[in-house]
Amino acid sequence: MVDLLPDRLAWYVGGPLLGLLIVGLFAIANQPLGASGAYVQTSGLLRRMPNVVTWRVWYFVGMFVGGVLVTQVLREGAEIRSGYDALRNVFPLWAVVPLVFGGATLLGYGAAVAGGCTSGHGMCGTAQRSPASLTVTATFMATAVLTTLALRIVTGGEL
């Protein structure tokens, strides 16, 4: 294990890199770099549905592999842990599990209704200057900040 990436990559490096990936996938395959579509296709494959877009399943696998490469190979100290430190400091584990599961279900449902998530609408859609994507992005940014504020108030400023 080499510790090539010990610290967080600065936004002015990571952001433009991601921008180039977005342009690359459009230039090669005329496709947006959206993550929720990869979930849809992977779920279709697991349920043996017809007409699964297999490259999106490979893309799903790739996101996991990319995470392993950076956190386990290029960076030292990634160990098995629960994650969610700030949330776990406020709530016990028996409350954190349903919170995370419920939140994830809600965001999955919302992404399906909106037709995309942070990557599909937030990045690729805005980069295409799509009015629909701009609407989705402005809406989820607003409700996310408001929900975070509400959680902060409910927990008496602890979260």
Binding site: W11, Y12, G14, G15, L17, L18, G19, I22, L25, F26, I28, A29, Q31, S36, V40, M49, N51, W58, Y59, F60, V61, G62, M63, F64, V65, G66, G67, T71, Q72, I80, R81, G83, Y84, A86, L99, F101, G103, A104, L106, L107, G110, A112, V113, G115, C117, T118, S119, G120, H121, C124, T126, A127, Q128, S130, A132, S133, T135, T139, A144, V145
Partner: protein, 151 residues
């Protein structure tokens, strides 16, 4: 087949950038949504600042993509479901502190609660799919069919 490899490589690139930027950590997203730290907003803005002009240029040149025919960007009009879906997504995003791509990286980094988030995302997408019966047509922001050119 080649498209599968391209999908894998772009996945590795995307997952790698998210991991290197710590976007798989609940604490990073939480600090952003608390408006304590603006790095993630700048991250997203700079990704768009780089990709939007390049996409505009490629579109103007009417390039032919090797695997998807003519480059065609989508500019759909906003509809009610965009606002409704976006609103629900934002609430879930704030509670779970993650979204579809970072949740995968969360698990690869060894954070076990990612294994709670991922099934939740699958369930949410599935619930909508059952409701609307539009199998495979959700996701990707501006979704389109893949035109597979042999080769």
């Amino acid at each position: 087949m080649k498209l599968n490899l391209i999908g894998l490589l772009f996945g590795i690139g995307f997952g790698g950038v998210l991991a290197a930027s710590n976007l798989h950590e609940y604490d990073t997203i939480h600090a952003m949504l608390r408006l304590d730290e603006f790095d993630v907003f700048w991250f997203m803005a700079s990704a768009i600042a780089v990709s939007a002009p390049l996409l505009w240029l490629l579109e103007r040149r009417q390039i032919h993509t090797p695997f998807g025919g003519e480059l065609a960007l989508s500019r759909s009009k906003p509809e009610k479901h965009h606002v409704q879906g976006g609103a629900l997504f934002g609430v879930g995003w704030a509670i779970a502190g993650t979204c579809p791509a970072p949740a995968l990286v969360m698990v690869s980094s060894g954070a076990l609660l990612g294994l709670v988030a991922i099934p939740g995302i699958f369930l949410g997408l599935h619930l909508r799919e059952r409701q609307s019966k539009t199998v495979g047509h959700v996701g990707d922001g501006e979704h389109r069919e893949t035109v597979v050119v042999p080769g």
